[in-house]
């Protein structure tokens, strides 16, 4: 048996970019679907805003954050969330249905990179939508949405990138679960549930009752939304920043690596059983 040449770094990067671009293009083709998704999540978000609005209307000192701080937090949280909606699992499930997964598995790029490239494509398109929303948001909420400082803006940006890695890591784990289950949608919704509570999407952790907060701290989800938002708005102190970013990086790497280990185990089993 001859040794096959491993793809060069240039080939890997090239393949990565092509896939990301293709994904972005496909997503842009379904413009109506994307707009509607955004509308849906925006709407669901309005409900959170309205609920909090009512709470603060009754008692302006309902929590440690002021009404304005809360508003800023929720709007930026919505944007970070919109930026990080990745179609990794649904795309995968669709390809399972169409019987196209085999194609992904034999690509020279490696399965995890294929998924990561497609997720990057999602991110690109999301950015096309998120930026105008931010600008519109500025017109309404103004200074409540500004980054606290230039440094806060940079830290927030880095944090979003790490949040992307965490989100991808969780999705990638769900993809592994879908290999085993007939319908992966169940896990997908369960993740959405956990994400909704523990990411800080509906309120920052400081607003949580103590027991709930204690659970949230030990889960990766808060680093997907709360951490980048607090860094951006300066609600997290600069002293906290390095620790938060390190935690994010650790979660991100850990999740992706775990996903990859599970993937290898699953593939191994498939090969033995002739899946």
């Amino acid at each position: 048996m001859t040794t096959l040449a491993a793809p060069t770094l240039r080939q890997v990067i090239g393949g990565f970019c092509v896939l990301a671009q293709k994904t972005a293009q496909t997503k842009l083709t379904y413009r109506l679907a994307t707009l509607i998704t955004l509308l849906a999540s925006g709407f669901a978000y309005c409900v959170f805003l309205l609920v909090w609005n009512e709470v603060y209307r009754q008692n302006p000192h309902a929590g440690p954050l002021s009404r304005e701080q809360m508003l800023g937090y929720l709007v930026i949280a919505f944007l970070v969330n919109a930026l990080l909606i990745l179609n990794v699992e649904s795309r995968f499930l669709q390809r399972v249905r169409m019987g196209l997964v085999a194609v992904d598995l034999v690509r020279p790029l490696g399965f995890v990179f294929v998924q990561l490239a497609q997720a990057t494509g999602d991110l690109l398109v999301n950015a096309i939508y998120a930026v105008p929303i931010y600008v519109v948001g500025l017109a309404f909420a103004g200074s409540a949405l500004y980054p606290a400082s230039w440094l806060a803006a940079v830290l927030g940006g880095v944090s979003v990138a790490l949040a992307f890695l965490i989100g991808f890591g969780v999705s990638y784990l769900i993809v592994q679960a879908s290999f085993v289950l007939q319908s992966g949608y169940g896990v997908l919704f369960a993740r959405a549930a956990l994400h909704q509570v523990f990411s800080g999407l509906s309120a920052p952790l400081v607003m949580f009752p103590a027991p709930l907060r204690r659970v949230a701290v030990w889960l990766p989800f808060r680093h997907e939304i709360e951490t980048p938002v607090r860094l951006w708005l300066g609600q997290a102190t600069l002293a906290e920043a390095p620790r938060l970013l390190l935690e994010q990086a650790a979660w991100g790497m850990g999740l992706v690596l775990t996903g990859e280990l599970v993937f290898r185990a699953v593939m191994h089993r498939h090969q033995i059983q002739g899946g």
Binding site: Q21, A24, Q25, L28, T29, R31
Partner: protein
């Protein structure tokens, strides 16, 4: 549901135009296309007129994209035509889809028709209730399908465990259980092996014999047509190229036959010349593919026996075959000429 004089199918100047949004490749063009609402129109079927009587069996052939499936979908009421008039069993299909459906059977061979993962027997049971099939009819059609298509060994297996061919057989059986007045079979033998194809044809013939079913069959395997259809409709790029009997088609488009001769030993120039002189009065052309292989194209006026005799006399023949009278060869040639620039 309709008088006896009503034809099974009536199409007059039928046309179907699809509207599609323009898509561009490349990131930036894609982005620009995103903001535009340009759309393009694409005529799948144009000015199609034909009539099929009750009990007829019609083969609908044409290359991919010729408009076969679109035509079948209009005839079955799935698609609304863009122009023209259409009637199946005396009703406008899309307007009275459900009434028509009760008397119609359909197979779409290209797409798996598996809605659920249950054994075929249960699907058949559901269909019996759906069409309210009388017990005696059901007993006949069910037994006929199970025996003829040899379904017994997998009829109780969940469909996800069946092979493509097995599913196809179940689909075909399912579409004919209610002994429909008209059956539209869009590539019912796709992906089947030769023996099973034969079974499928026998099943169709038997159902026709028993119930006088009108059959419209689209296929790429022309043997299906030779076995089951008397009449042919040939579509090319959405237009009707030929409508008539199978024999008529063969006579009209078969420009004679081709004699394929394999030689035991190379023929020298003298031998070749002698043969060509011998047949100089006949309308034939000689082509030497290799020194061992000769093709003699005989026009319809040429006498095949005479040509054959002459070839046998002059050459040391190892093997001899006559080609070109079959539907297959004619259609292939027809497609080739239709494609060539006019």
């Amino acid at each position: 549901m309709a008088g006896t004089m009503v034809p099974a199918i009536l199409a007059e100047n039928l046309g179907k135009t699809y509207t599609r949004r323009k898509r561009k490749s490349g990131f930036w063009p894609g982005l620009r296309a995103y903001f535009s609402t340009e759309s393009e129109r694409f005529a799948a079927v144009t000015d199609l007129s034909f009539r099929v009587e009750r009990g007829e069996s019609v083969g609908l052939i044409g290359e991919n994209g010729a408009g076969k499936s679109t035509t079948v979908k209009m005839l079955t009421g799935i698609l609304v035509p863009s122009e023209g008039r259409i009637e199946t069993l005396g009703v406008v299909p899309w307007r009275e889809r459900r009434r028509l459906a009760q008397n119609m059977g359909v197979v779409f061979g290209q797409k798996p028709q598996i809605l659920w993962d249950i054994p075929a027997r249960e699907s058949f049971r559901l269909l019996k209730v759906m069409y309210a099939i009388p017990d005696d009819v059901f007993r006949f059609t069910y037994d006929e399908a199970v025996e003829r298509l040899e379904l017994a060994e997998f009829i109780d297996t969940p469909v996800r465990l069946l092979s493509l061919g097995q599913r196809m057989r179940c689909d075909l059986a399912a579409s004919l259980l209610h002994a429909p007045a008209v059956a539209f079979l869009d590539e019912p033998t796709i992906g089947l092996d030769v023996l099973v194809k034969e079974r499928v044809r026998e099943h169709l013939i038997e159902m026709r014999r028993r119930f006088g079913t009108t059959i419209v069959l689209t296929t790429h395997d022309l043997k299906d047509i030779s076995a089951t259809c008397e009449r042919l409709l040939v579509l090319d790029r959405g237009r009707l190229l030929y409508d008539g009997s199978r024999q008529g088609f063969e006579e009209r488009f078969a420009h004679g036959r081709t004699l394929l001769v394999d030689l035991g030993s190379e023929a020298d120039a003298a031998t070749r010349g002698a043969l060509e002189r011998d047949l100089a009065d006949d309308d034939v052309t000689f082509t030497w593919d290799t020194p061992h292989r000769l093709r003699v194209e005989c026009a319809r006026s040429a006498s095949a026996p005479k040509v054959t005799a002459s070839v046998l006399e002059h050459l040391h023949v190892a093997d001899l075959a006559v080609q070109g009278a079959e539907l297959d060869a004619i259609v292939t040639r027809l497609y080739r000429t239709a494609k060539a620039p006019a």
